[in-house]
């Protein structure tokens, strides 16, 4: 891992759904330890972009170059599938909007956290369990719940469990798709607080897709505003939010309800 290379270097990423544009000619760099927010309204291509980046959707054009630990910068789109899946369970993490999509609901909380460890070869029950306990503690889930299934957890707890499950292998890049969607505001606040702490402590890089400007204000260093599949404005978060240049960004910022 060298500091001279960006962690993720995206060039001209384009995805069409037939004649419809998913996202078009998106380019950006993400540096180690940096959090990038992607905002825009529903249907603006945020999630398409995120899924293309994370390898869940094959884009039509473009490059996603990731600075791998072993071999340096490498295009993840031309990488072989085993390599990409290996990245997906070691250096990458994906936090789904709905915790149910990212958790195994029939498996206990401990098993959920331990799965990635076992997937990379951990074969000592005691150690796996200790790490699961440690991570449940870090995401503020009581140790006594380790053998309970996520079905018995509240929405906020499920989301925190999903985060623990993803971060247990110490990834370097986290993709988050609306991490606070569907949670009530006080739970959102706690989750954001937790995420901010984890991102700072672990030096994580993250790409956060959201339509909630408060989330990016708190988490993101840089911001990308998308509309109809195109990036219309980029910049430092505070700069974009306090002094929006593009008409759409101005609309977006002024649409936030003030309490």
């Amino acid at each position: 891992m060298t500091q001279d290379n960006p962690l993720l270097d995206v060039r001209n990423l384009t995805k069409f759904y037939g004649a419809q544009i998913g996202c078009a000619r998106v380019s950006f760099d993400l540096w180690p330890g940096e959090v990038l927010g992607i905002v825009g309204e529903s249907g603006s291509g945020k999630s398409t972009l995120l899924n293309c980046l994370a390898g869940h959707l094959p884009p039509d054009r473009g490059e996603v170059i990731f600075d791998t630990r072993a071999e340096g910068p490498k295009d993840t789109l031309t990488m072989s599938e085993p390599e990409r899946r290996m990245l997906g369970r070691t250096d990458w993490a994906f936090v789904h909007q709905h915790a149910r999509d990212g958790l195994r609901m029939g498996v206990s909380a401990g098993g959920n956290v331990g799965e990635r460890l076992m997937a990379v070869g951990a074969r000592h029950y005691g150690e796996i369990r200790d790490q699961a306990l440690d991570w449940l503690g870090r995401v503020e889930i009581s140790e006594s719940r380790i053998d309970d299934r996520p079905t018995t957890f509240s929405g906020g707890m499920q989301q925190r469990l999903q985060i623990a499950r993803n971060l247990v292998t110490g990834p370097r890049l986290v993709f988050m798709d609306e991490p606070t969607g569907g949670l009530d505001v006080s739970v959102q606040a706690r989750l954001l607080d937790l995420l901010r702490g984890l991102v700072r402590d672990m030096g994580l890089s993250a790409i956060v897709v959201t339509h909630d400007l408060a989330v990016v204000r708190l988490l993101a260093d840089r911001l990308m505003v998308m509309k109809d599949g195109h990036v219309v404005e980029t910049g430092l978060t505070d700069q974009v939010l306090d002094d929006p240049q593009h008409a759409y960004t101005q609309l977006l910022v002024s649409s936030v309800l003030q309490v």
């Binding site: 098993g111 799965e115 990635r116 076992m118 000592h124 029950y125």
Partner: protein
């Protein structure tokens, strides 16, 4: 005498040829599930349609067949399959493990050690060891192809978390030659160590349309954790009939008052021991 209305061993020659190709492929890639065009057999799914097809493709007129069901030669499933091949193939049948050249089994491996000139055919209900962990077949195939077997350990983890030890006692997952994770069919885990044997082992799943195989002396390792090693468990008693302490036991309820006895599940093994004691 063979029933002349049927081809030898019921299946037509082209079908047997197709199954033999699947068997050969299975032997070439130990533990890999080979798809095959499973035929309807004159018995319900779950009664050993896969095993019967593999046996039918394996039998020759000079073979001696033994069929066991949970170790016993005289239970419904064993009797009906034995009669089926007596009628359609006219092969000699036996209950003695050492006399048989082909043994079709449901859920047991005979206690007596098998030799290089024998074939053991298993009936398999669910060939996919990852089935209840990952419901998508497309995904499990990918996981086999890429050797992503972490999920199998999640199942064992759950066992320990819930019961304090690995409570899976049958169909215990094994790793074959350091590559494929395989479901050994619902044999008790007591039988798992016996799978490294001299005989050829063939597995047929009729409804699921899969055949897989273990060539002789293939390395078969039962999955476990470093701090919770695999244990081949059985009931702690000795057999009430022959006194064997080293064979897998069935618990038999003998009356309505809860009396019970433990006897060898392998009836041939038990009878031979008792004959030996009487002599």
């Amino acid at each position: 005498m063979t029933d002349q209305s049927y081809n030898f061993a019921y299946l037509d020659e082209q079908t047997k040829r197709m199954i033999r190709r699947a068997i050969l492929k299975g032997l070439a890639i130990p533990g890999y599930q080979v798809p095959f065009a499973s035929r309807e057999m004159p018995m319900p799914y779950g009664w050993g349609t896969g095993g019967v097809q593999v046996s039918a493709a394996t039998l020759t007129p000079s073979d001696t067949l033994k069929v066991i069901d949970q170790g016993a030669d005289d239970t419904t499933n064993a009797v009906s399959i034995r009669k089926f091949f007596e009628r359609t193939a006219d092969v000699a049948t036996t209950t003695a493990t050492s006399d048989a050249t082909v043994i079709q089994t449901r859920h047991r491996i005979p206690e007596e050690e098998l030799s290089e000139d024998q074939i053991l055919v298993y009936q398999v209900p669910i060939p996919e060891p990852l089935r209840f962990l990952e419901p998508r077949e497309t995904e499990t195939r990918k996981m086999h192809a890429l050797e992503e077997y972490g999920l199998m350990h999640v199942k064992l983890y759950e066992d320990i978390a819930r019961h304090g030890h690995i409570a899976t006692s049958y169909a215990y997952p094994v790793k074959v030659e350091g590559r494929y994770v395989m479901d050994p069919s619902p044999i008790p885990k007591f039988d798992n160590p016996k799978m490294e044997m001299a005989a050829i082992q063939l597995f047929g799943a009729g409804r699921e349309q899969r055949i897989y195989a273990l060539p002789p002396y293939t390395k078969v390792v039962s999955l476990d954790f470093d701090d919770h090693p695999f244990e081949a468990s059985k009931a702690p008693q000795d057999c009430a009939l022959c006194g064997a302490s080293d064979s897998y036991l069935d618990e038999v309820i003998t009356d309505d008052d809860g009396s019970r006895m433990f006897v060898c599940s392998d009836t041939d093994y038990c009878e031979k021991r008792r004959e030996g004691q009487a002599a």
